[in-house]
Every structure is written in C-alpha cells, then in structure tokens.
Symmetry: none
Subunit: 399 residues, 2 copies
C-alpha cells in the first residue's frame, strides 16, 4: 500500500485534520440503551455527519483489541500487524523519553529479594513514586562499557531502562520469573545481536543487585518487554506531506514522533490545542489532534463522564471547521466502552468530512448510525488513503 | 485466489453476463442531491435489483482511483495490484494493435527541435492527425537489426511504437525531458534485457532524427511509458469457461484479449452488441459487455447526458434478460462523477442477479441504495468468484 501511495501521491496545498478521540467507541450500559456517543448531545459533529460520510473502523482485524500503539499506527495509515512497537519502547514513549534508532528499551520493576536472592515480592510492596525516583537515580549511576544507559522512573515499582549502542538486538527473554520464590531469570539472546544485549542486561542486573543491596524492599530489579526502536518510514516519506502532532500526553507525542510527525507544543487543554492548530495552520498539511479523555473516562467505567467529554469535544469543533480544512476526520484509535472499563475490539465510529463525499443516510454521529454509513466497515489503515483521495493528493493508478 | 478457483471450479452449461457500464458511479452535483444513477429512470435495472443482490465495488483499494486497466482487471477477477498493465501496452491496445508476448510498447510524441537538437515544442505544435499518420509512415520505414518495429499513429502529436523481439526488458526511462530547451534524454536500461531495449530505442531515435530532419515542426520524437506485454493467465485457464468480449472501443477489446477472451465483432452500438450477444449465445459461457458512454459523459462533466446514457442502457436490458442468463452482473470499472469530470475512488454500484440470490432490501439501483445491499462493500476482484458460485461453477472447499 505504501509503495502504491508513493507512486500515486501528488502535492498540493490541501489540509487534512485527523481528530482522534481516544477510545471513542462504546456500548450501552443496559440492553436497549444507547452508547456514550449516541447519548451525547453533539450538534456540531452531527452537522459534519450530514455533509460527510460515516462508517466503522476496525483498528487491526475483527475481534482484535488494540493497544494505543497499533490503534494509532492504523489511523496513521500503517499496517499495525506489520509494524510492531514493543512494550519497552511504548513505555519509554509514555514517559517522554526520546528513544532513537540505536536504542533497546525495557520495562523495569523494583522487586524484593531475600538473602538467598529469591524474589519475595515482585512489586517491592508498591513503593511510593518518590522512592521509585530515588532508586532510579541510583541505577542511573551504573556504567557498562560499550553502551549508554538511561533509567527513567514511571511510578510505584515501575521504571524504564534504555540501552543505547550499536548492534543491540531485542530478542531477549523477560528476567521476571512471574512468581515469588525464584531468582530473577538470566537474560539470554536468540541471535548474535540479542546475545550482545543479554550480556549487557546481565551486567546491569548484577550492578543493580550491588547498588540496591541495602535498600529492601526495593533491593532488586526485573526487566521485561525488551524492544528495539522500530524502523518505520515517516509519513513525509510515504505521503509526501508535512505532518504535525498536537497532543497533550507523552505517549501520543511519542507515537507521532515514531512516524516522523513534528510534535508541536500544543499546551495542556483542548482549547490550547485548538489555538495551536490555528496558529500553526500554515506550517503543515496534516494535523493529528489527540483527545485523551474519552478513553480515560471509559477506562474509569464512568459512562456519564465519557458522555460529557464527548460533548466538550463537540463544543470545540466549530474552531476546527472555521479553519476550512479540506478533509476532517473524527474517529478513535479503538473503543473503550465504560461498561467494560477497558479497550475493546468493537469497531470505532468514524466520520470523514470533505467537499467530495458521496451522501449517505447518516444524520447523527453514533455507532448504530454509522452502520448505515458510506464508508462501511473498514480497516483503519485505509482511512488515510481515502482522506488523501478526498484531498486530491492521490493520482490515478494505471492508465 | 486463482489457485483456489482452479481447484474448485466445475463445468456446466450455465451462462454469466458481466455488463460493465464504464465509470458508472457518480456524485450529486449539489449537497443533498442525487447521483446520475439515482436520477436516471431505470425500471428494468430496478426490476433486476429487486430480484437480485446489490453492493458497492472497491476497484483496487479504498481511496485508489483506477485507470481502465486496473478497473477492468478487477472485474475480470484478477488482483489489479498484482497484474500491472504498462502505459505503452495500454496505448497500443487503444489503437487496436495486436500486442503479443515478445513486445515492448511505448507512447511516442512528435516534438520540435532546433538546429542544436534542443526541444522547442514537446508536442510539435499539436499537428493535424493526418500529419501524424504521414510522419508515422516515415518512422515505419526504419529498420533495426534484431527487432521488428511497428509504428501506429494515435492522434495529433501522439503515436505508439512497438519493438518486437527476444530478450527485451521494459525498465527503460522516458526519453522525454519534460521541458523545452533540452535534448531528448538517452534511453538507459536497468537490467541486461532492458539495456538491450535501450540500445535499440537509441538507434530508433537516431534514425527518427535522420528521417524527420526536414519535417519541422514534427522533426523529432520522444518516447515514454515503455512496457512489456504482461504475463497473465487466461480466464479459460483460471475459470475453465469460454469467455467472449463484446466491446466497441479498441482499448476494452485489448484488455479482454490480454486475459484470453475471444473478442467478438460486436458492431458499433449497444443495439448491435445485443444482437451479437443473442447470435453468439451458444458459443460461450461468459460474456463481457462494455458500455463506454457512462464514462465519457462523466468525463465531459455532463450530468444530464450521463443520466440519459444510463437510461439508454436500461432500455436495452430486456434483451439481455430475454436470453435467460444464469447470472447477470451490472457494474462499472470505477466511478466517473460528472461533478469531478474524471475517474474517482468512490465505490461502484453493483447488481448481481441470479436465481440463488439472498434477498436484500434494495429496490432501486443507485449508490445510496446499494449501501444497504447484500453484497456489502467488496473488492472488485471477488465479484467474479461470487458470480461463479451463483452459476454453480464452484465446488466446496475442503471436506
């Protein structure tokens, strides 16, 4: 698909906005009820729906519940099965660590070991985050020849460690034995580069044992989810446009940076994001706006709060329309039904507005209405090519 | 897919008709309006719709606007991304030149060069087609050892040249420098076979320079879109039926010939095509009928004329029904909305009629009605397998 787009793409001065309401899709709380989106009063979204075309996005494949990484990669036009973002890298992005192509990242846990070195608490009694920060500072002092080392606290017992160097593979097992009464596992690599990483990891863990010796209950570490920085062509390389990310939370900024977007300082509220969008309107062709609160309220199981977050988004929409984008997409990276308090596999309501939409019968934004929409049910990774077509940015395939 | 069909196909005496209304899909001219197809009075198509099943065909992939080649290959059941028909070959098909497996074809332009050999007009002042024919005759006299050479005029400054021989590649650059003030570019090949072609092309251009020297403004040529004859399994090999093409325009006859259809002399009007269909009914199992005027009126931006061309097609439909085909498909190879005056990426309204259709709620033929159809939105290349199933020509897969 990317080869095809590279062949067909055309340059013009059209503008595309991708507004991602994280976890937008939902479920009714009761049989016969409405979803969060269907319950919300959304006059501005509904006006777009009447002029645009709707459908339901399948983030990865039917039945597959995506994390934030695959969910966003699909919306950015990448096949989320082909491009995998390892857990270590995602965790590093989440704490705003600037991972790069020479990095292998892993999730770390502080744990408690007894005098024999056997783990007695895999989470070190869930220490206060302040202690996590202090212990992280100790780990940061460790030196291992041949690599740079970065330790970033996350919260409680969790931290991120990044090994930076040449020839580092990530086919390395987790050192967490997943049960107490065992020693941390030795790291082993599946190939030469990963054996190189494993050797360094074992040195790091030995050093951690030494520097944390007197610090029970946080007197040892386990590492999981070793992951290299993924090699991904940038959106500029594939689509030929200048992409910008206007996100508030580090993980989404990091995901945008992975695909080559310029991460713009967009403030910390939706209102500030809108102001930034207006100010930087002439500097980019493609704008990714990320709105977190539809997901976090869904994860909290707070149906009414999710409804309110959708309504808040709706009230900001006229600011987007006022810029006269050529294509406006409103969708989610996955569903987060309040009823399930988690991400889910349910297809995601999607709206595409442009001047070249074929009419469909949908007049309100909502899951059941989108079922009748002209976009049908589609894999998320095809949404951006469709947006490019509507923006006049894709030429004809074949004569 | 083709391997599967080859395994499962069965032979019987059923008949399938694929009626392609070129560029059938459209758009309303005004928000809230109807498309060309929705505006047309089509009682005979609507009767088929009520008994059959409808849907929307995606010619290549969502957002991709196909040319005639990929659009038709999809309807013939071939993956248009796997089989590419180069521009030179398509141009040769368009002038009814019988390209074959040893051919490399290119599009040619007559151009004007000054005494220093620099191009002053890339289109030689758009000469009359008579002059194009006369100059083509001069080029046809050129002899190059090791290849046969065919020069076919198209119109104005455009012609086709076909090099026939062994070991000719088509990874050869265009010789058109795309701007005036430069000499035509030297042809270079990317591999051994293409270097062979490039050497011959450079000889041809040198000879053209010689024979056209006194013929300003048509005193030089540039060549573009070098393309080999594509290797495609025939429909008979894949589907096991005897396919016939009833088309009026050379390009569609050529596309049909590429996939092994027998191109039947079908006259020059839809009425004559219908007569031919009836006469040759017993000679074939599969009939491709091509109707051009829904596309050409769309390309002209003439909404009302496209409506009339659809209505004219509708009035001929009873002649098709009278033959009692087992399966009748009416669709397009792509959309050509009058509003856009060009091919587009919008899915194409599709109707499949047979005695084994499951009912759907569609009662009229049109883009928005087809959204509710039982075929859903589907990739064009799956339509012919579905037709074979309805014709009882596909056995069970697995036990």
């Amino acid at each position: 698909m990317h080869d095809l787009i590279r062949d067909l793409r055309e340059t013009n001065d059209t503008k595309i906005i991708l507004l991602v309401a994280d976890g937008l899709g939902g479920l009714p709380m009761e049989p016969g009820g409405k979803t969060e989106l269907e319950s919300a009063r959304t006059p501005n979204l509904d006006a777009c729906v009447r002029e645009g075309v709707c459908g339901l996005s399948i983030p990865v494949l039917p039945g597959i519940t995506p994390g934030s990484g695959p969910g966003h990669l699909g919306l950015f036009g990448y096949d989320p099965l082909q491009h995998r973002i390892g857990r270590g890298i995602l965790e590093a992005l989440g704490v705003n660590f600037p991972v790069g192509p020479r990095d292998v990242a892993a999730r770390g846990n502080f744990c408690t070991v007894d005098d024999a070195g056997l783990i007695t608490d895999r989470r070190a009694g869930r220490p206060a985050t302040e202690r996590c920060v202090a212990m992280g500072r100790k780990l940061q002092e460790i030196r291992i020849p041949g690599v740079e080392l970065f330790v970033e606290p996350v919260r409680e017992h969790r931290f991120v460690v990044v090994f930076r160097g040449d020839n580092l593979g990530d086919a390395v097992n987790d050192t967490d034995p997943q049960q107490t009464g065992h020693k941390p596992l030795e790291a082993r690599g599946q190939d030469a580069a990963s054996q190189n990483t494993a050797r360094i990891v074992n040195q790091f863990v030995a050093e951690a044992d030494r520097v944390l010796k007197g610090d029970a209950p946080t007197n040892m570490v386990t590492l999981r989810g070793f992951a290299r920085y993924p090699k991904i062509e940038t959106m500029q390389e594939v689509y030929g446009f200048r992409p910008a990310a206007l996100a508030v939370y580090p993980m989404y900024k990091g995901l945008a940076r992975l695909v080559g977007m310029e991460v713009v300082d967009a403030g910390s509220t939706l209102g500030e994001q809108m102001t930034t969008l207006r100010k930087r309107w002439n500097d980019f062709d493609f704008f990714f706006l990320h709105y977190k609160y539809t997901d976090s309220t869904g994860e909290d199981g707070n149906f009414q709060a999710k409804v309110e977050m959708i309504e808040r988004l709706d009230t900001e929409l006229p600011k987007v329309r006022a810029l006269n984008p050529d294509v406006l997409i409103v969708t989610g990276d996955h569903s987060t039904p309040s009823k399930l308090r988690s991400h889910s596999w349910h297809p995601v309501p999607t709206l595409l507005w442009s001047g070249t939409c074929r009419p469909d019968p949908v007049t309100e934004f909502g899951e059941s209405y989108c079922l009748r929409g002209g976009l049908g049910q589609f894999q998320a990774m095809y949404l951006l090519p469709v947006a490019m077509a509507h923006a006049g940015r894709l030429g004809k395939y074949g004569a």
